[in-house]
Amino acid sequence: MSPAEKDPEFEQLRQEYHAALGKRAQETQAVLGSLSTNPVEVDGADWTRILYIAHKTAGLAATYDMPHLTDLCAALDDGMLGFKEKQNAQVPGTSFQAWCRLLHEALVYGSQGKDPVHLEIPELRG
């Protein structure tokens, strides 16, 4: 990536993006909440939403100087997609819970404008 744009308008966009990551963190928190009551079954809508959040976050985070967040979300996105395609079976709720938890923590960090470099890039095995 080029050096950060020193443009107030670009900085405004960056701040808005951080706020959006905060909203995504709230969504992942809500999914984790429902998983805590029923961790075995993965709701299809929850799966789709988490995959979407991971995919979309992967597609922009690095542009706003959070490359590790991009890499982590890309690993979740590719891994979850690959898992589902290979397994063709119900994803274990405990695995999905772990991925959600990781995504949530990463988004919380990102919402503060910090790249979550302390979080390990997961290897999802399908």
């Binding site: 080029s2 808005e16 959006a20 992967a58 597609g59 922009l60 690095a62 542009t63 890309a74 996105d77």
Partner: protein, 126 residues
């Protein structure tokens, strides 16, 4: 030859970033929030370049191009595909639909602008 640009992208923050760069460069920019909206906008025939995200709800980027090709729509705009997944993943579709320009997300905004300017200099597809 139309230099009007349509961005088809469901991620609002990517749209705002692209709008920021393109309008600052004096380029005419319109945003379609999903594939169906993009398809309808393209059919007005006013766009010389369509920046098309692949993963969108409903009609995805490939479906938009395929639909226009099937209808033998003219004037067919120049297309720049956007995707967070690797180009290798989409090579088959790109070859099948004659798409030559591809930008992987996350992108550097300056590189995105240079790519757009380069594609705009090419002749419109026949």
């Amino acid at each position: 030859m139309s230099q009007r640009i349509l961005l088809a992208e469901d991620e609002e923050h990517i749209a705002k970033l692209v709008q920021f760069k393109l309008t600052k460069a004096g380029l005419d920019f319109t945003w379609a929030k999903n594939g169906l909206e993009a398809y309808e906008q393209i059919r007005t025939g006013q766009f010389g370049l369509v920046i098309l995200d692949i993963m969108m709800p409903g009609l995805d980027g490939w479906a938009v191009v395929a639909k226009l090709a099937e209808e033998e729509f003219k004037p067919f705009p120049r297309i720049l595909m956007l995707s967070a997944r690797g180009f290798q993943h989409d090579l088959g579709m790109a070859a099948k639909l004659g798409i030559r320009h591809y930008l992987k997300k996350p992108f550097d905004p300056n590189e995105m602008l240079e790519t757009v300017k380069k594609v705009l200099q090419e002749p419109m597809p026949t």
